[in-house]
Subunit: 85 residues, 2 copies
């Protein structure tokens, strides 16, 4: 595998799993006051569009990474809506 | 321009500008307690790798969107480190 491809894969891994510590933190503290509702609304919309794009062009890496991202980011959005303080 | 390409561009726009409402909110409230340091550390690392990847394969859209993402996400990381409560 080319060095470029490896860097791209690690990059995609980082920007996807990055949301996991936020999911865990918000779940544990039950506090989402400082999280921006606008950010997670726009971000989830974007991820749904990335997923649509991946399906339209039949690109498996785009589909799989965006399913993972959507799971994590929509969990944070749900916590933001559920934990009012 | 193809419909697929337009969806991809809107997707990229959304997942990039999504961080702007968080930057504005954290700047205004000076409160970053609920934000995950782990998330923004890993995310910024991933964006630097995406930028490296874009430069290595000479892809201007990857370079430009990741410069914008890095500016926004690193601002949030800075606020997280600066605003202790």
């Amino acid at each position: 595998m080319e060095a470029n491809t490896i860097i791209g894969l690690i990059a995609g891994f980082c920007t996807t799993v990055a949301f996991l510590p936020q999911v865990i933190k918000t779940w544990k503290t039950k506090s989402a006051k400082d999280l921006s509702l606008g950010m997670y609304s726009i971000f989830c919309t974007g991820i749904v569009l990335w997923l649509t794009y991946g399906i339209l062009i039949s690109d498996l890496p785009i589909i799989l990474t965006n399913i993972a991202s959507l799971t994590l980011a929509s969990s944070i959005l749900y916590f933001k809506l559920r934990f009012k303080n």
